[in-house]
Amino acid sequence: MIDFKFWKKSSKTDKKDNKDKEYAFLSAVISIVVGLLVAIMLLFLLELVAPNSDFSKPILGIKKYFTYSFTSTSTFFKIFYNAAPLMLTGLAVGFAFKAGLFNIGATGQYAFGAFFALVAAILWQFPWWAALLVSIVAGAIWGVIPGLFKAFFNINEVITSIMLNWAGLYLANLLFYNLPAMHTVLPNRTDNLAFANPSAILPNFGLNQLLNTSYINIGIIIAIVVAVIIYIVLEKTVFGYEIKACGANRNASLFAGIKTKSTIIFTMLISGGLAGLAGGIVYLAGTVEFTVESHLLAMGFNGIPVALLAYSQPLAIIATSIFIGFLESSGSGLQGLYSYEMTSVILSVIIYFSAFALIVGHFIKKILKRRKNSKNDQDNETSSDLGIVPEAKPRDDEQIDQKEVVE
């Protein structure tokens, strides 16, 4: 029988654990505020250099930006429509982080998953759930390749997955051209699912008509359920324990008898599957079609800031992805005032400055702690168990000390 006690918080929660969580939450919020402020400053700056400055324009822009999502059911539900795939790519990246792996290949796995979901839907006439499963398998296959290279030849997963990003995208394009049955209407675009296979469109239980929006479907529910499952896997299961041990010290894990190679492979398999599922959810919504792309899809990369802002914690990823989904949805509010490109720039500024502020904040905190080390600030391991890009930050106090002497 399954022991359901794992739901209960074991023992009294630790004071310091809570402090860590508070700290993580606060720094994420502050980082986001910093990102927003930078974007607003940018808008004013633009006005300053424009030929006929009109400072009411950025103010109006900000106002529109923050209210737009709440002007109609369509714009409101678009938040969640955007958040679902972000959540899944964020989980893909965050899950791999926990094992000490940087899955920068989520975008390739996403493209692969998306394409095969459509192959399943259009060519094989699969129902939506089966097509989603196909997208998971496709993403997992594309994700496990860097995992295999890492495990057996110790080749850095960042390098292999960057290469596979392009390989994945172009392989999808190639297959697209060689499968004319997928694009009978337009040469560069898959057929609309509404005609090609309505049963492959994600169900919305009639809420579409009721709320008068095409942006509502089961995708967000699936994503949240997956996030909770990933949380349970990481925090409550033996497999999660092994993943975290591998991420924190691969040698000690090996020593303890953990099969570190297979842990790496399984982690990448799951990570890829999550990214693939994200692709499936987007393209089975029936709102967009797959087109031949010559650029890597941004969705996979946006998973990185989602995971970063959430400190790779699955439950926090639910929140950060909805937040970034909101930012994306609100971008349309600037239409008319700013060009489409400008809107993308603003969005990227917010996302990336938030992530940037978070990382900088981390270093400042570490350094402050060394300097000051005031009475209530001695937890020198806060950042280590957060699981941000392991390679990108000094993992040992040692390196930090090294740095300090350097100055």
């Binding site: 299961t237 010290n249 020593f255 008898g257 060394r370 300097r371 001695q378 280590s384 000390d401």
Partner: protein, 518 residues
Amino acid sequence: MENYIIEMNNIRKEFPGVVANDDITLKLQKGEIHALLGENGAGKSTLMSILFGLYTPDKGEIKKNGEVVNIKNPNDANDLGIGMVHQHFKLVEVFTVLENIILGAEPTNLGFLTTKETRKKVIELSEKFNLRVDIDAKIEDISVGMQQRVEILKMLYRENEILIFDEPTAVLTPQEIEELMKIMRVLIKEGKSILFISHKLNEIMSVSDRVTVLRKGKGIGTVNVKDTNINQLSEMMVGRKIEGIEKGKNKASNEVILKVENLVVPSKIHKNNAVNDISFEVKAGEILCIAGIEGNGQSELVYGLTGLEKITSGKVTLLDKDITNKSIRERNLTGLSHIPEDRHKFGLVLDFKLKYNLTLKKYFQEGFQNHGFINEEMIKKHSERLIKEYDIRSGRGANTIARSMSGGNQQKAIIAREIDCESKLLVAVQPTRGLDVGAIENIHKTLVLERDKGKGVLLISLELEEVLDISDRILVMYNGKIVAELDPDQTTFQEIGLYMVGAKIQDKFKATEVPAND
């Protein structure tokens, strides 16, 4: 009035759950070697880290030459001429010796490194103080002893005059320790002042002038080494008398626990084999010790046995089961426990809580997990028992992050975990490294107790005293081969020493060289 170069007055430092330093006063005279003695977790490293600017004290003042100074970070310490060699070295593994020495004080001309003069300066320093280093070798390729000399050169290069050594001898071979003692004496002659942490009382007696003793965060007192003796010091330190251990009778039976046949393990550093055709047996109820100078293949032998490294050829049998090609987990479950040489690399997941480290070899067993789910309750209960039984001291008990624990207590945690596995074979590599005398006594007692329970213990130690004290049988390893089998009751330091440096080989081991193995 005496002339103090450094005064640390009434220092207090609290960590969550522990007062690491409680009103400690330490005065360092110019030109003396001042030892700092205390049990594991007594607060020695903390006190020295405060002097080096890594921590700020909650209370107390630091004076240099009678003037109050404010040391906020290691740079301030460096400006005041204070340098430190840490308990766990802080070198950049992939940099060369020279690069490590100048790191942070790089001499530049128009932004370009000017290494020529520096190189000269470093070579001069190393000759002056007799610190042999391989200036262009990468840190990862040189021995621990040489790494330490690099750390010392780093301080000298920065012209530090107050040198802190945090347990410098814990990782050294007896020969290297001798050498370090000499170096320290030379440093003093050159006008440096030294603070020296060690658990080894004979070292303290032989090299230092005065010694300050800490116990559980409190200063117990400072004494002149001339006026004291080892017994008094150990009593001051642990608050009770230390008896030597009674090894008792060798209870070796005929049951063979571990059988190693013609084992060959390749070396990572040179082309030859690190372990070259070794065969031996560990019987139930004996402590078999492999003695030897560091780097003669002992580490590789252990890695080969435990599965951490691939072997070239040979056969390993554990409890009549051929484990030569088995996974590490299978070996462990067959009955192998291993206290590793490198506690940070293999022994602990430093960023995990203590309780997860204590269950690193148990978490997958029924009870610790149910249907793939970790049973937190069980993990907590189990680790709390070990913490109590093995007296593992830390700020927040089972929930302490391993990284924040004192070096000795980290070691105790590993030992607790490994012994608790109830394996028939216990491979212990330098198990008492970095432990205080009280703890060493406990470990030795535990090893003897495990032996008396009928287990086989394979002890790899560089310390002859330990070897002679607790082993039932000694094998000496030299250059990847076994050169002697000795009875600890019949042999002497001198005799083992001769075998260790390769000056002698017992006849029965000479024979094994003839038949060529393929």
